[in-house]
Amino acid sequence: MKKLRVLLITILIGLVTSSLAQVTVRVGLGADPDILDPDLGRTLVGRIVFASLCDKLFEITPDLQVVPQLATGYQVSEDGLTLTIRIRQGVVFHDGTPLNAEAVKFNLERSLNLPGSLRRSEIQQISSVEAIDNYTVQLNLSEPFAPLIAQLADRAGMMISPTAAKTLGEQFGANPVCAGPFRFVSRVALDRIVLERFTDYWDAERIKIDRVVFLPIPDASVRLVNLRAGDLDLIEGVATTDLNLVRADPNLELVSSPSLAYQGMTINLANPAPRDHPLATDVRVREALDLSLDRNAINQVVFDGQFLAGNQPHPPTSPWYIADYPMVARDVERSKALLAEAGHTRVAFELMVVNNPVAIRVGEVIQIMAAEAGFDISLRPTEFVTALDLQTQGTYDVFQVGWSGRIDPDGNIHQFHTCEGTFNFTGYCDDIVTQLLNEARTTSDPTERLALYREAALRFLPNRHIIYLYHPQLFFAHTNRLRGFEAYPDGLIRFQGVTLN
């Protein structure tokens, strides 16, 4: 009898202590997320938090295929104007509200109609949403729009609890209620965001973590120091110059992935009116600038060779990369010849760069390289918001800027190279290219789309109003007690299948 009692007590203690031993993963982020409302958020780090907090209709795989998450499947009508989405059954939000067609309808309408919604422009082709039955919604589009599914695999497709949204109103962003693997616990601005496991998550078996704490630490070296010291378990944004430190540390693991982003130089041709500058008027001068640069050297000097050199919106490894427009090696002689042909010995211009150390470093390297071919570049480090302003107004010669990248190629090309594109700050306008790009977004057939993008690219790439330079890679580092972490090209952190000892 006594032995039984001892056994029972031991089991009890074991159960109690093991349930008390919460598995907490502490994640170091590169910035403090902004408002935690999927319709109002605009930062990448915000999306990282959303990845654990809010599930979406669709998800992506590491090779950028769209797969179901809260949706189970979809159908596009022949004419491309109707999109029918089937919704997963048995899903509840963190507050117990069930996910159904009405909830999805509420969410999509909120994304479209909430004053100040940043998702509206992403899904504006949706003219109305209907709940066909309890688990089916129908989206009626004003025009065919192939990238829509990809948009629903991001913030626009994140589902929030209608009950919470209605009750909390403007305060929702401070107390988000979604349907993701973790629920919101607390937040201290500039300090931490705490999430804990949602026991009724529809995919609960794959979640082996009890708590996630996000800690914004803007300085990359400080993040790494904290990781090495054991104060963090996982960090994003490891500086390329720190990679060797991580590789040399036996307690850490480095995980990398190509990203969707690109960086390049945007040249002002005609914003707001045709400009008188040699770079704006003569494509040979732009080609000379392109040829004066050694992309691999930039990668080597600034990024220790860890990024990927490129010359198109998509990296050379992407299925959307146009093989008939490969990268060309640096050729200073040819560059000088082109300049001479265009009637110049030296061309001077101002290169506006964002006011952060890495961007400035790239600018300095460009400055030195291009000088050899005859370009006198003066750097103009400008604070980010101001720079965007100046870019919109056209008060710049060349702007060294990039784009975070979208899953769908349309997101990386259309708005930049069509005549009326919202991100067309160069003033470039080629009606044929515009027509091709418009067509490419209406058809869902990948082969057809690739052919259209190729035809358009072979027209806009040689014009070099955007000189694409490189593609940042994503580098995560974590303690080797963490297992199962996989880096996705969108830079988000997903905890499905992740364990921590």
Binding site: Q300, P357, E364
Partner: protein, 290 residues
């Protein structure tokens, strides 16, 4: 020739010599003066002194430790640290001098007017000065520089404005002490205009402490400029500035520690020099405080 509570009374020639003698007798003042002169010379002759151009980068020699080729090592894109440190002196010198000039141009006239005329005007200027002083110096400078846009010029303006209150108060104090003196009263009685009195009698006799403060403010301005550059708000790269170099060096503290040592050391020595010099001036001009 008695010293009054706050300021100096009119000096005559023998006293000036005495001040010089006191200055020379103090070893730290001499050290300060010598270092200041070295700093100024380095700033002026940096292009001649530097072994390399501060802008030329050797992409194959990125972040190299000190060697015979690069006595203080190379930085994050392969530029010579020594040359950049030497050129950084120019920025610091400009920042120090111009910021102080701005502070003087703003502060001294306001202080003169405030102290001389008194009354409502004085109250107004004093409240305004108090308001300026209520903001922590760096925060005011950060706010101004951010508002005007990050650049060396705007940083100097911001520091100048933030330093002006000290001169307003100091000048005002001097004026208050001096305006009751006999020679000022007699000049007034003789019918001299206010402007003449201010410029010919009041100002010259208030100069000594202003000069001392100016020297000490140069020291403060140099630190302020490097702080702003450290935060990313002052001198913009690729122009070499000590604060900016420290900002970059922070990211490479493990891989290339030499990038952080020398710019900071330069700031330290230069500022110390001005502080020693200023203190020495003060001791020489006001023997009461010893």
């Amino acid at each position: 020739m008695t010293s009054t509570v706050q300021g100096q009374v009119r000096r005559s020639w023998p006293l000036r010599n005495r001040a010089i003698r006191r200055f020379v007798a103090n070893p730290s003042s001499i050290v300060g003066l010598a270092l200041v002169m070295i700093f100024v010379l380095v700033a002026i002759f940096a292009p001649q002194l530097a072994p390399h151009s501060p802008a030329s980068a050797n992409f194959l020699a990125v972040r190299q430790a000190p060697s015979t080729e690069h006595l203080l090592g190379t930085d994050e894109i392969g530029r010579d640290v020594l040359s950049r440190v030497l050129h950084g002196a120019r920025v610091s010198l400009m920042a120090g001098v111009i910021a102080v000039l701005i502070a003087l141009v703003l502060g001294v006239p306001l202080g003169l007017v405030s102290g001389y005329y008194g009354g409502r005007l004085d109250e107004l200027i004093m409240r305004f000065t108090d308001a300026l002083l209520a903001f922590p110096f760096l925060i005011l400078a950060v706010a101004f520089t951010a508002a005007l846009g990050p650049s060396l010029l705007n940083a100097m303006i911001a520091i100048g404005i933030a330093s002006a209150p000290t001169f307003i108060r100091l000048t005002r104090g001097q004026v208050l002490a001096v305006r009751a003196e006999d020679y000022v009263q007699s000049a007034k009685a003789l019918g001299a205009g206010d402007l003449r009195i201010l410029t010919h009698h009041v100002l010259p006799n208030s100069l000594a402490p202003i000069l001392v403060q100016a020297t000490l403010t140069i020291a403060g301005a140099i630190i302020a400029e490097s702080s702003l550059s450290f935060l990313g708000l002052g001198v913009q790269p690729p122009t070499p500035s000590w604060g900016g170099m420290l900002n970059t060096a922070q990211g490479f503290i493990v891989q290339a520690p030499w990038m952080a040592v020398w710019p900071g050391l330069s700031i330290f020595v230069t500022v110390l020099a001005f502080n020693l010099f200023g203190d020495g001036l003060r001791d020489a001009l006001d023997p009461r405080e010893s």
